[in-house]
Every structure is written in structure tokens, then in C-alpha cells.
Subunit: 347 residues, 2 copies
Amino acid sequence: MQVPEANFMESPKKLRIALDAMGGDYAPEHEVAGAIEALRASHEQFEIVLVGDEQAIRHQLTLQKAEHLSFTVAHASQVITMSDSPTAALKQKKDSSLAVGMRLHKEGNVDACVSAGNTGAVLSAATLILGRIKNVSRPTIGTFIPAEYGSCLLLDAGANVDCRAQHLYEFAVMGSIYVQLLKKKERPSIALLNVGEEKSKGTEAVLEAYNLLAASKYNFMGNVEGNDILKSKADVVVCDGFVGNIILKFGESVPLFLKSRLKKFSERGVLNKLAVGMALWPLKVSLQDMDPNEEGGVPVLGVNGVAIIGHGSSTIKGIKNMILRAAEVAQGQVNRQIETALAREGS
Amino acid sequence: MQVPEANFMESPKKLRIALDAMGGDYAPEHEVAGAIEALRASHEQFEIVLVGDEQAIRHQLTLQKAEHLSFTVAHASQVITMSDSPTAALKQKKDSSLAVGMRLHKEGNVDACVSAGNTGAVLSAATLILGRIKNVSRPTIGTFIPAEYGSCLLLDAGANVDCRAQHLYEFAVMGSIYVQLLKKKERPSIALLNVGEEKSKGTEAVLEAYNLLAASKYNFMGNVEGNDILKSKADVVVCDGFVGNIILKFGESVPLFLKSRLKKFSERGVLNKLAVGMALWPLKVSLQDMDPNEEGGVPVLGVNGVAIIGHGSSTIKGIKNMILRAAEVAQGQVNRQIETALAREGS
């Protein structure tokens, strides 16, 4: 593997983040622009390594007048597309921007690897290249859902479809550590997503996970239902990736549904149009945090390193926030804390 | 069992509907008021049998000046509460309003039984007292979710938590027949709710259900994702009751979440308050069909009869619509059609 132009020996204490510059739907344009904004927002407190087709990246750096900024470019000749099968693509495209970025991290040349590319591929690359933390059965991803007061972390958000009780238990532990670190919250409350609050409700896996969590040292508050998620009832809401993925996508579609309904209403007359025009301001402000670009990206929890997955359709702001999130997670050493927590139990 | 005041020999062709007058959170007041409105809306084309504490019901009929309307009262000395365990309550409270109403139906004295009481108990009563239709493994309930164009039926809505492929297949068949009848739609499109559109996605049960549906004569369009529900991608969306219940409750909480966010916005200043005031009209009209009282109630599909379950917190309008829905389902003979459809396959 060639890593031209990269000199990883400079300023060893500055955090280094590899960005898959070819990952998202609007790559490399949004990626380069987001990287510029992240550098500016952090006053260049970390370095960004742009990974991907060098010519395309340098062209963007020129277009976006960023040649004076201290970017490093690591060339990668291949790209994993959104339609590629994650595991097959990782095997076949050894020189993809994603694999090169993740290997830079594995080899210690960067402190994090972020990508807005194929979610399954980023997840697989993180798991296969960085490896699982000891005592973690399955790495997971979680997403913050806006709630009445603040937000709650829903996990698993789609990484693991069929789950056993032990998996759910580990998701809860990992989510709790992540929220504690990121939101500076002591002993975040954990709940299992279920069809009723009673202990006797739910699938077999959920029933058993209830017992595991109730016997643990974590701040387990029991079951919550679908209508409790937006009510801020718990800081961490645990479910399998099948339920989590469906809830998240359903939630993401709500603002668009609302928009479409309001459009139809506004077409009924001048007065309607005026009322909708007035409604847009409060709605936009009130639902601002439902835009996934606000969060930027979610870390893969349970792997030996910092891998952040962004939305395929990330805006420039989304890419910027994804990079800033990577810096936060790397500094907080989330995964080392997960290792310590689960090692103690495993012993 | 005593059924005082009931004379079931009159006008044999008029549809008769038993209403559990003690079921909902505001029983018997909302129940009696809803029954009056249903009779008025239908120009008294059917009869309503009010089941429950006779004294309380007659008191409400007097209070609501409905003594001149042709209600029949069937006395029941017990009530199943919202906190009762469904199966235990059915065993212990043999003379509950729900059980009495369901038995009136089983014995052919009424054509349908509706209740806004304990959902699990109504479901159990329908299954145990009316019995399953031949070849139906598990009765199911579905709910119409408002979508961009019209609505889609999501089922199972919470009756069956752990499901095998055959169960999902039967839910699809029952849902298709119900939508065809109620929405007058030929060959409604059916989809499996999944974490991706590809055939290879999902849990083991969903993967197998995909094959069963693809090989069937029904209008199966494949998988849809969480963000497709509100987009009207399919007429019938099939999932297990764990996922269905969580999605439905999550969806129901969205308007309240919106309200809470707008309230917070309006508290920030006079101009904010004004803008929110203007926003309420378009929002209220646009989201009107998200009120579960519009649908009124959902039928238990797959039992030998017509049992309709309403929301515990049903308004008077909710009770009215639940009764009207019962009349529709009874006239359409949904369950007889399900029996024919599944019998043909079973043979």
C-alpha cells in the first residue's frame, strides 16, 4: 500500500483523523468542504488525512481554495459504492479509500477513521480491520434521537438484526459508557424498548436481557414503550438492530411527511398558503435537531479504535460534525472504557 | 347468564352490535355518548346492545337524554380493568361486560362485539370465546397509518410478539382481504417491513416469509423500510407484533412531541407565540388523521366473528367510529373471506 504525501512523523501529539474522501453521495466535494469547515471550527487543533483518489481530492482542494490548509492526502485507487455488498467489496477492493483509511488507523498512523460511505462496509471494515474489543460479542452503532428534553441514544441502530439477550446487554453497557462520556452524564438511565412496561412483556431475548440488566450495576430503569422514546424517559434505549433501524428510518421520514402534508394544505387557497408560510419558521427551529447532519455521524462501539459512520447524503455540515465527533470520541477513549467495563465482568 | 331487558327476536335483519359499555377510560359516559352518535350517524340502521352495569348505563342514558332511542341493555356485574392480566381476568371475571358481550356474539344474538377496554383482554376474549378461523395460526390486529396518499395497514399491531414466517404470511393474507374490502381496492399491494429492500435482508422469519409471499398469488411487492411507511409505498405493511406495536406507539407520540417542541418555541417571545398560533391551523388540519379516534377501532382478524378493539382513551367520536367500523366489517364479512382464502391454500 502506498501512502504518498503523508508524513505521519510530524507533531505526534496532534490528533489525526482519516476521512474517507470518496464515501458519501456527494464525494469528494462535500468531504473536502466539510473537512475545511471542521479544521476551521477546531482552529486546526487536529490534522485531517483525506483518503481517496489523489487527483480528485487535490482538484477539490484547489477549487475550494484550501491549498494553504495543512491537509494530508493518502491515495487510494478504489471506491466502495453504496450498492456494493459490504463484505465482498472489502475482500475485492483492498485499495478502497475506506480500507486504506481504516488500515491507517489500525497501523497507528491516525487516531480515527470516518466515512459517510456504505454503512455496512464501514461497519465491516471497522470490525474486520480494527478488530473487536475483548468480551464484546458484537460491535454496535447507536444514534441520538431528539427527545422532549435533550436526546436519547437508541441502539442497536441496525448493525445486528438477530440478537440474543447477551448482545442486548452489551449494547446497554456500551451505550451507557458512550452517553456518560459524550453528554457528561453520570450513570445514564438505561431502558429496554418493549411492548409494555411490565417485566413479563416482550420477546424471549428481551425477557432475558431484562434479568441481566436488572442484576447489573448499571442504572437500569426497566422497559419503555415506543411512545416513550421522544419523551426523554431514558438516556439509553436498547433494542435489536431490526427494531432500531426501522424506528430510526421511520423517525427520519416524519419531517418529510409533515412537509408533504403542509404542501398539500397550502395548495388549497391563498389563506392556507399564508398560514403554512408562517408555520415554517417555528417548525424549522423546533425540529432542527431531527436533521441527521446535526449529529454528523455515529461511532462503531466495541471495536479497537474510533470508526465513525456518517449518513450517505451528508451535507457539508454533516461531514464537519462527523469529523468533530471523531475527535471527541478519540479524546474520550470510549472504547478503552468499554474494554475495562466488560473485562471486569468477564473476569 | 342473565340478559335482562334484551329481546333479540325483534327485526331479525337489522345488524346488532354489542358495545362493552364499561371498557374505556371514560366508561360508561363516552361509551353511551358514542353509541348515541353512532345511531344518529347511521340513521338507526343498526341496533346497539349496551353491555355492563345496568344501573350505571341507564343513569347515563337518562343524563344524556337518550331514553327515547332504541338501546338494549345487557347487564354484566363485573368489569375487566386496564391493569388486569388479560387471561387471568377472563377466567376469573366470567360476568365481565367484555365476556358477556363476546358471548352474546358467540351465541348469535349480536353480529359484532366492540370494546375500548383492556386490549389484551379483548384480543383474548375474541380468540377464546369466538374461536380461531380454520387454518389461521394466530389472530392478528392491524392499524391504518396515515400516509402521504391515503393510509397503509400495518399489521401485526401488537397481538403476536414472537412470530414465525407462516404467521407473517397469514397476517399478509388477512390484511390484504381487510384492505380490499374496507378501502374497495382490488389486489392491495403487500410489503414486508424490513431493514433493507434487498431480498437477502432481515431476520430469519422475515427471509422465509419473503419466499412464501413471493410464491403466493397475492400482490407482494417485496420489502419496504421504516421510512417507506409514511410514503404510501404499500397498502399492507407486514411485521411481527413487537415491531408493529413499537412503531405504532412511536408514531402516536409524534404529534405530542411536536406540540411540546412548539410550546417551548412559543415561550421564547411574543413573535414566537404569534407564529406558533398561526401554525396550529395548518398543523391540525394536516395531521387530523393521525388521531386514533378517526379510525375508532381495529378488528381482530382471524376469529369467527367481528370483534373490534378501540383505544382505551377513546373520545366520544372514537367510540362512534368504532361502532361504525364494526357495522362495516360485519357487513363485509371479512372473516368469512379470510376463511375461504386460507382454506383454499390449506386443501
